[in-house]
Every structure is written in structure tokens, then in C-alpha cells.
Amino acid sequence: MERHDVIVVGGGLAGLRAAVEAKLRGADVAVVSLLYPMRSHSVAAQGGINAALGNADPSDSVERHAFDTIKGADYLADQDAVLEYCQDAIERVLELDRWGVPFSRFEDGRIAQRPFGGAGFPRTCYAADKTGHAVMHTVFQQALRLGVAFYNERAVLRLARDEDGVRGLVAMNLQTGELEAYEAKAVIMATGGAGRIYARTTNSHQSTGFGMALAYWVGAPLEDMEFVQFHPTTLYGTNILISEAARGEGGILLNAKGERFMERYAPEKMELAPRDIVARAIWTEVLEGRGFENEYVHLVISHLGADLIMERLPQIWELALKFAGVDARKEPIPVQPGQHYTMGGIETDKHGRARIKGLYAAGECACVSVHGANRLGGNSLLECVVFGARAGASAAEDVQRRGFDGKEAVERALEEVEGRIKVLLERGREEGHSNPYRIRRDMQQAMWEYVGIFRDEEGLRKGVETIRRLRKEYRESAGVPAPPGPFNQGLLDALIIEGMLDVALVVAEGALRRTESRGGHYRTDYPKRDDEKWLKHTLAFYTPEGPEFDYKPVVITRWQPTERKY
């Protein structure tokens, strides 16, 4: 059994930042990660990271950043947390610069900042259009420098919990195929988003939301899971992201009739209106027959000139060329909306603590909540560093007052996982078992169709029914015909799919209950925001039969909800 004061699950930006903080504060910390850290999906972030540095416009301020975030969130964000988050932002970003992030620069040598959707000022710091790669590698490097311990290619499959909270975890070492037990005084979840519960997503293949299921299974509630962000511009075909930076730099959207249709949806902000608004606008154009091939619209950047494109949007240019065969210097890029970001997640306070002792969360798998019903671009890399650092600090502090003593809980968890694996492998040897990948595909399709950009009661009911039916099928007949051993991807995926189904069900049922429209959650049968009934956070608690729901108030301090217009 391995033992560490603090174990961080996940080696993405949030997990690495948490580990660095705990290490700097003297804790014994290890990262247990499914992927080698540098493979984590944070590397895919393109556009940038927000902080009110005021380098582009000195009249920007922490308060304005906070206000934009809260308004963007459609007032579902906790305002106390948002204000502290925007305050921390400045130091966290300057620290990244000191650690070596290759930020793009203004002529005077300061960090360059550019405009981004939903922001009143150019406050997005960036490293060309590879900001996530730049920032995450830098934090990974610092973790190496500080001597953080890494257990890589370990898939955490269960958290171990007893009456006194979370005590450790069980992981599969992919390189040996063996299960391993870990004891810890603090476990920080940093497992990223749940994009892969949807058929069309910008997220990586490993962004499954499984980490959320792990916390949910041991009793931590998932908060606001029905709020899913659909990015307006993903490459038609692969749904690889075409960053908002393309529009920030002046790119425009045209439908098949050549109209700049954003005029009709957000006359003032146009293409730079918040993501949910632009995504719905594009999908409306497509559904009403003004798209190309009933699937996509055009994003045009050619008028920006080849020089600007190659300097500031080189990756977008290359992605469009490699994955869609389009030279964006001359031709329009075919784009359609796709799932992009999971606003909800494991409920935490503003210091990264979950409801259960010994459990913490940060990054996309957590819900503080600073993004409320809709996250602004550039705010989630920031969330990873701000709340990663906070969770790391909280854990380092708390472990001083907690012992190990988790052996029994860990052993119980181990037995449970062994049991599941045995069943999957036994069934795999029988004729007529269900292929977990097929179950996953059906789930992804149902989520896209019924719990997608536009929702209504009828569709949501179908969605819930479908997911429940697939869960049942999974429990009764999923099997894996692959012998145990190293890199048993089929087995690992089957175990993960169980968690994905539970997370998907929380999203679908939460969406069915919420009879209003707010941010990323858009109900055609309830098109208006309803503050009287729904200015509250959703909490979903695990039971074997399905989620149980509760609600809690939103923290409102300075900014009273008003209608969101752009």
C-alpha cells in the first residue's frame, strides 16, 4: 500500500497546480494520474487565461472581471467566490509568467491581452493560440522541479471512505494491469470535464467525467450538472475546437445565404456575444435550413490577412488544414456547435473542500461555483490555477490534523473493484453479452439529441429513459472479452462507462427538473429565466436507483440579477 498525506487524482492543470501548492507548503504530495501529466487535456486550451492586469486597457479592474463573470454566468455564480477568484487571478497569472509561460507580449515587454467573448475589456492573456499547452507544461515543469511524486498511467477506480470521510483510493496500474491501494489523509480530485458523455465534443477521449462519478459514489453531491456549455465553433467532422480567438481577432460568421446572422441575435456584441448565445444562433440557422448540408455554417478569417493569421492564429490555421482540408487564409472554415465545458461538478466551497472530510476538488471536475450557468472563455484555465492552488493549500493545512488509519476502508474498496472486474470478464466469455462501447455510443447519441443545445420536456424524458435503460443493460449484460493484463483498454473503458452513465443521468434528470432557461441550459418550453423559482444551485446525491435532488441558494452580494443582454 502506498501512503501520502495528499494525493491528487489527475495530472492536468488543476491537479498540477494543487500539487505544486501542497508541495510548496511542505506536504508530502503525490499525483496519481491516468495519463502522463503532459498528455492531460488542459494542453488543448487555445485562447487564453483571464486576469485584470490592465495591460491593454488600464481601466480594467477586478470588479469588472467579477461582474463580467457573474453576468456571463446568468447570475448563478456565487458572488463571494467570484470576487476572490478574480482577485487571486492577478497574482496567479503573474506567477505563471515568473515560472516561464511563453506568454505573447506587447512591444513594451508586458503580457499581451486580447478581447474575448462576454468580457468588457481585453483581459485575456495568451500564448499565441496554444495557451493551455504553454501554461500546463510550465506548471508540470515546476512540479518536476519541486520533486512532486508521480504515479502515472494509474486509473483511479474507487475512493475509499468510512465514517470519518475519504481515506484513500484504489487504482489500476495500466502498465502492469494490477490493482493498487493508496492511503491518504487528503484526496484532491482534478480529473477534468465530462465532454465524452456527448456525441459531439471538443474534449479529449479521456474527458469522461469519471472522476465526478468517483466522488458522487462516495456521497459527495454533484452541483449544477445540467449546465453544459456548447461551443459555437467546432470543426465540422471531428469537433476539434476552433477557438474564440478567431472571432476575438475579427473573424465573422456567415450562413449559407451569406448573411452575417449574428446581427439578429446579438446586435451589439455580434460574434463576441457569450458562447451559449452564439451556439444557439448557429444551431438555429442550421435547424431553420440556412446552414450548409444541414450541419454547419462558415467562420471567415481570411480578411484578417495571412500575416495576422500566421502570427496569432497559427494553430487554428493548421487544425483547419489538417483536419478539414481548408486553408483558412483563403477559405471559410466549416463550423458547428459541440459540447465544450462542464459547468457543474463536485460541489466545493471556495477553498476547494468538498462536503466530505478528506475530499477536495479543483478544475473542471469541481463546481465552486464561479461559472454558474455559463462559463466565459479564458475563465477555466484560471479556475484551474486559482482553485488548484486553493485546494492544495487547504489540503496541506488539513492533513496536519488528520492521521492515516484508512486501511480497512481501502481494502473494502479494493474488494469492490475486484468484484466488478470479475463480473465484466466472466460475462465477456459468454455469448451474447453487451459491448460496453455500443452502450457508450447510444448514451452519447441520446445526450446530444435530447439533452443538447435545445431541450424540452418531451425530449428530456426520452433522454432520461434511454440512459436508465442503458444503465440497466450495462448492469445486466455488459462484458469484456479481453484477458486481464497490461494496457487492457477494453476493460478500463468498461469500468469507466459505468461512471459515465451515472453522470449522464444526473445531467439529464437535473435538466428535466429545471423548468427555466439559464445560460447553457436552454428549454424551448420554458424560454425565460425564472429567478423566483430557480435562482438556486442543483445538488444531486447518489443512490443505486438514481440521483436524489436537493437545492441550495446562490450567494448574491453586490450584483442583483438583471436580464442578460449583449
Partner: protein, 245 residues
């Protein structure tokens, strides 16, 4: 010229298989994969995994050439599976693990020795303690911009004839990172000579590079490790001549 492949036709994937636990020698399996427009080699491997053979092992994550997981030999060349269009290869695709890496299973190789090489050059910046808000001239930024793009995929190391035969050589990826930090003024000045000493070390450093530039041929991020190593050679010589190291 590869034969043209069309929607609905099948492509034959010849896949290297090896499980050191049970197999004495590696072997190849063939799979027929239905072609779809835009299909990448990674898409083909995923099809095999999900529909034909859940025992196939390979690494992948982002599917957008940014995480560095999926470097492998594709029709004999180091490439990222996720950015390689099947249509550019024709009807036959042969996939094998990265050359000169130890195979853990099928297409998965042991990258630990590669990581040790990276760590040996201290691929991290030692921050200055007295500067709160560094300034960086656009000129300096240009120097470390390209090497900062490295995704640690290992393709260059696999292609390098020196690295293939000499386990002591730090290799193109690590030396590229060494250069990247050596030219960054945000780092403490007292670390710089140490970096150049590592570059200069006889059995493992820049002088082992014969400037074959095989690295630059295969780097998916268009970094030119060989050229940066040449620059490091100049920096090292200069430091020696001026007595800095």
C-alpha cells in the same frame, strides 16, 4: 503513389502485436477497417479497438496533435496517428511502435527513459525571486517560442540515428528544452552556466549530435531540434572562450 481510397471501401491495417508477458516474438495482425471521409489512423485504431479487438493497446487522448500520446511508426515513419489522414496513405496502413523504444504492449512503448533524458536537462525554469512582473522583449520571445511548443512525443528521439545507438546521448528533445531555458531571461542568471555545462558534457551533450536533422523531418510541431542544437553549440563555445564555463 498510394491507391485512392473511397468512402465505403475498406482499408487494411497491419498492426504490430506483442505482449512481452505471453509472446516470445512480436507478430502482425491484419484488420479490415471501413473507410470514412476524413478518417485518421487513430480513428482506424479506435474502430479496431471498439468493434474488432478490445485487446489492442495504444495510447491516445486529445486527437488534435497537442497531447503527444500517439506517436508511432506509420508505414515506417514516425508520425502522430491522430493527424495522419488514411487517405494520404492509400489502402494499406502499417502501424508499429516507435522505433528504438522498448515495447510494453502492442503499440505502447516505455517512455520512462525518454522522460529521464528530459529531466536530466532540468526542463524547468528557476524563477528569479526579486522580480514580480517580468518584461520580455519580443526579440527574446522569438527565441524560445518554437521550442516551447514541444509536446514530448518522442518522435525526434526515435528518428535520431545517434540516440538510437547511444543511450547516453541526451537526444534532440531534451537538448531542445535545454536551449529553450538557456535563452529565457526570466530565469536566475546563476543557473545559466550550469545549463551550458550540461550541454557541453562530453558523452551526452551537444557534441554528440552529427546534425543529421532527422529530428526536424519528423517533428509534428515543426520544431527544428537540430538547428537549436547547432545554436547551443555556438553558445557553449562562446561561454567556454569567455571563461563563463
Amino acid at each position: 503513389m498510394p491507391g485512392r481510397v473511397r468512402e465505403g471501401e475498406t482499408v487494411r491495417f497491419t498492426v504490430f502485436r506483442f505482449d512481452p508477458k505471453s509472446d516470445k516474438v512480436p507478430y502482425y495482425l491484419e484488420y479490415e477497417v471501413p473507410y470514412r471521409k476524413g478518417m485518421t489512423v487513430l480513428d482506424g485504431l479506435l474502430y479496431i479497438l471498439q468493434e474488432l479487438d478490445p485487446t489492442l493497446a495504444f495510447r491516445y487522448s486529445c486527437r488534435a496533435k497537442i497531447c503527444g500520446s500517439c506517436a508511432m511508426m506509420i508505414n515506417g515513419v514516425q508520425r502522430l496517428a491522430c493527424e495522419t489522414q488514411v487517405a494520404d496513405l492509400g489502402r494499406r496502413v502499417k502501424v508499429e511502435p516507435l522505433a528504438h523504444f522498448r515495447v510494453l504492449k502492442d503499440l505502447v512503448v516505455d517512455i520512462e527513459p525518454f522522460l529521464r533524458q528530459m529531466e536530466a536537462v532540468m526542463p524547468y525554469l528557476y524563477p528569479k525571486e526579486d522580480v514580480r512582473e517580468p518584461r520580455v522583449s519580443p526579440k527574446e520571445f522569438e527565441k524560445y517560442k518554437s521550442p516551447s511548443d514541444c509536446i514530448w512525443c518522442g518522435a525526434c528521439v526515435s528518428a535520431c540515428p545517434v540516440a538510437a545507438t547511444d543511450p547516453l546521448f541526451l537526444g534532440p528533445a531534451a537538448l531542445t528544452q535545454l536551449y529553450r531555458f538557456a535563452v529565457d531571461s526570466r530565469e536566475r542568471d546563476d543557473v545559466k552556466p550550469l545549463r551550458l555545462l550540461v550541454a557541453d558534457s562530453e558523452g551526452s551533450g551537444v557534441w554528440r549530435c552529427h546534425q543529421v536533422y532527422a529530428c526536424a523531418e519528423v517533428c509534428p510541431k515543426h520544431i527544428r531540434p537540430g538547428s537549436l542544437i547547432a545554436e547551443l553549440k555556438r553558445m557553449t563555445l562562446k561561454a567556454r572562450l569567455t571563461g563563463r564555463i
